[in-house]
Every structure is written in structure tokens, then in C-alpha cells.
């Protein structure tokens, strides 16, 4: 009975990430809309930030855009990873739905996403000041999961400095 109850309450699609407490994988990805500029894990040093994996073809990505816009307005750096998307489609999508991102890395082949252990969009990673992954959320990020899973961790990381 105990196993049945536990089994029914777990979401089988939510997989634990093995990348937690590990540094970002090495990557060098072009910045969306910029020529000859690249993002590497070095860009994540010295600040607590969110890394949000999204795509213009991902229907549910729209649902978290309002929250991401709000968070970036409140001063939390949000960095985007454009997952297997066309540059023009991504730019058009941002014009339509708003752009919460400080900058966006273009992962056209999805290789950096594989290194991050991404298995679906959207996914949101919490990155600490040293560029280490501290938490991963799979699926649309809503206020409830942000307050429950991200906020306490952000506060703790900020205190540790």
C-alpha cells in the first residue's frame, strides 16, 4: 500500500537530474542576434542566475514567459538557451511574447542541451555564483514552483556569498 501510494503521487515524467551540484558543461555557443559573439560557462560566474531552455516551436514555453519577464524585471538574471530553433523564428517569438533574457545562447544542434541532461523544453536551471548547477525544474515554471524550489535556494546561495 505504501508503494502504491508513493507510486501514484510521483510524476514519472519528472526525472532527477544527475547534473545537480556539478559545474556547467563546457560549451561555446553563438549569442542570438550578435555576430561573432559567444557564450561560455564563464558568463555565469559571479552571479546567481537562471538558465532557461526554450524554443519557439515549444507550445508550453509561452506559459512561463510572464513569470520570467517578472523575475528579470526584479533583477534576477535570466539567460536563455535557444534549443534546436531557427534564428529568425526565435527572434520573431521574442518580439511576440517578450524577451526576459540577458542574452540567449543558440544551441542549434542541441548538443549543449544533451550535456546539460535536457530531455524536453522548457527546462530551467538555477546556476550559482561559481557556475555550478544547483537545481533543475522540468516543464513550465510557475510561481508556485519558483517560490517552493528556487527562492529558498537563491536566498541560501546569496547568504553564502
Amino acid at each position: 500500500m505504501v508503494f502504491l501510494g508513493r507510486g501514484l503521487t510521483l510524476d514519472p515524467r519528472e526525472l532527477p537530474s544527475v547534473r545537480i551540484d556539478k559545474p556547467l558543461p563546457s560549451f561555446k555557443l553563438p549569442i542570438l542576434g550578435e555576430k561573432n559573439q559567444f557564450i561560455t560557462p564563464l558568463h555565469f560566474q559571479g552571479k546567481i542566475s537562471l538558465l532557461n531552455v526554450w524554443a519557439s516551436w515549444c507550445a508550453s514555453c509561452v506559459d512561463e514567459q510572464a513569470l520570467l519577464l517578472q523575475l528579470s524585471k526584479q533583477g534576477l538574471p535570466v539567460i536563455g538557451l535557444s534549443y534546436k530553433d531557427k534564428t529568425d523564428d526565435a527572434i520573431k517569438w521574442l518580439k511576440q511574447w517578450g524577451n526576459p533574457y540577458q542574452f540567449i545562447a543558440e544551441d542549434k544542434e542541441g548538443k549543449a542541451a544533451i550535456d546539460l541532461g535536457v530531455y524536453g523544453t522548457p527546462e530551467t536551471f538555477l546556476i550559482d555564483q561559481k557556475g555550478i548547477i544547483r537545481f533543475r525544474h522540468v516543464g513550465v515554471l510557475d510561481e508556485e514552483s519558483f517560490v517552493k524550489d528556487f527562492l529558498p535556494r537563491i536566498k541560501k546561495l546569496a547568504r553564502q556569498g
Binding site: 515524467r13 526525472l15 537530474s17 544527475v18 547534473r19 544533451i114 541532461g117 530531455y119
Partner: protein, 143 residues
């Protein structure tokens, strides 16, 4: 000619023709799949097939990587293909994937403390069942 016309209209001919036609759709699939991932040696092709059958598609979890049509499965298939071509061992390829996606990507999880219940739980509970059964029988025979 008349004989052929009769043959053409016969039910058997139509059936055979239909099956022949159908076979184009049914039997060309594996050949098609192999031409996507050509290997220089048979050994590499066998390694590729073997690995993909034991790897789970993370998007559609009841499928293996060989069957799944999901975009991520395709990318991972490509990755495994390239690693097999680069003569990487099974262990290296499996470690590459579990480093990123965890043991969940394996249909057969490795035996380690975390998976003890999974591997030995059923035998353990069966044993407990037998003990209870045995004790109940003993009590009844005493009564």
C-alpha cells in the same frame, strides 16, 4: 494473351500481387534504417543495435532509443552512432549517457545500494511470504 487476362483477373493473382506490393512497405524498413547509420564493420553495427535496445527514450519512456521517433531520441541515436564509429567501448558510451541522464536511461539499472530494493526486493518479499505461510500452516496443524 487471353490466358494472361484470365490470370490477371483471378483472385489468386490479385492476392499475390497485393502481397508483393505490400512487401515493399513492410520489408524495406530495416534496410532503410541501416542506410541511415552505415558502419564499416559488422561488429560496430551489432554494437550500435545492442546499445540502442538497452537505452530508454527519455521523452517516451516505454520505448527504447532504437524505436523512438522523438527528436531527442534521434539526437542521442546520432551521438551513440558517432561514438561507436569512433571505436568507443560500451562502457564509455553508457557512461557518457548516464553522466547526463542518470541510470534512468538504462532499461537495466546497475546493482548498487540505491537499487538493492529494486533488484532483491521481490525475492525478499517472496521469502517473507513463504515464512508467513509456513508459520500459519504450523499453527493450524497444532490447533
Amino acid at each position: 494473351m487471353k490466358g494472361f487476362a484470365r490470370l490477371k483477373n483471378s483472385l489468386l493473382f490479385r492476392h499475390v500481387f497485393f502481397l508483393f506490393f505490400l512487401s515493399f512497405f513492410l520489408f524495406n524498413i530495416p534496410i532503410f534504417a541501416n542506410s541511415f547509420y552505415p558502419f564499416e564493420t559488422k561488429k560496430q553495427a551489432a554494437q550500435f543495435d545492442y546499445l540502442l535496445k538497452d537505452l530508454r527514450c527519455l521523452v517516451c519512456q516505454n520505448q527504447n532509443l532504437a524505436d523512438s521517433g522523438a527528436g531527442l531520441a534521434e539526437d542521442l541515436r546520432k551521438q551513440v552512432y558517432e561514438m561507436v564509429k569512433a571505436s568507443k567501448s560500451d562502457e564509455e558510451i553508457i557512461r557518457y549517457l548516464t553522466d547526463r541522464y542518470g541510470d534512468f536511461i538504462l532499461f537495466k539499472p546497475p546493482v548498487k545500494p540505491l537499487t538493492f530494493i529494486l533488484w532483491f526486493g521481490p525475492a525478499f518479499f517472496l521469502l517473507i511470504g513463504f515464512i508467513i505461510f509456513w508459520r500459519t500452516c504450523k499453527e493450524r496443524s497444532h490447533a
